[in-house]
Amino acid sequence: MRIAVQTDPFDLGEEANAFAAGVTAAGAVVTFTGVVRDLAQGGLRAMEIEHYPGMTEKAITSIAERAAERWSLSDVLVIHRHGQLRPGETIMMVATAAPHRKHAFEAAEYLMDYLKSRAPFWKKEIAADGSEWVAAKVEDEDALDRW
């Protein structure tokens, strides 16, 4: 298991290859990658991501450990950036490996649902005409009921 909370960019391809190379006993590898979209339709200059150093790493580790137990995963990877990101940049990724595809998919969705609402990150959209904190969505909180 590897958890990284960082300001530096990461290379999705390199991370995916390194992850897959380490888990050849697993038949299924799922990755999820979040990219900064220009939600304000051309007006987004940057996405500023604030986090709670210390708690962030603990919260993600705890989420990943719960996922690894629940689905007997061969491995889990979580990378999440903070700081200022531009549209098109990669915000974060998760990867899961399991013997069966259903488990790898479910675990990746579980990780994403919990990272979204239970890891202490806050996003702020910085646009030409001002900046605004991204509001948590009711459907993201509701997504946790599934688990």
């Binding site: 709670y52 708690m55 979204k116 890891a119 202490p120 990150f121 806050w122 702020k124 509001a135």
Partner: protein, 81 residues
């Protein structure tokens, strides 16, 4: 204890963390104490349903006791991922 603020709570109160000497028994008591201090605190804590609290870096509740807690953090619902 150390009290930390994140995102718009930090912006509204105007600082990321401060040292608070308090005898507050619960998080709610601490919130009342801080809110009574100045308008910026009262404004930040006006709607507790829009806030979350962590005690020593674990998510908690506003009615949780503060005994033994070293670090309290207030912030809006998280938007990671």
């Amino acid at each position: 204890m150390d009290v930390l603020y994140f995102a718009w709570v930090r912006e509204r109160i105007g600082l990321p963390r401060e040292r608070v000497e308090t005898g507050a028994a619960t998080v709610a008591d601490l919130v009342s104490e801080l809110s009574a201090r100045e308008d910026r605190y009262a404004a930040a804590f006006a709607d507790l349903s829009a806030l979350r609290v962590a005690l020593d870096q674990e998510l908690s509740d506003f009615d949780a006791p503060l005994a033994g807690v070293r670090e309290v953090a207030f912030f809006p619902p998280m938007t990671g991922g």
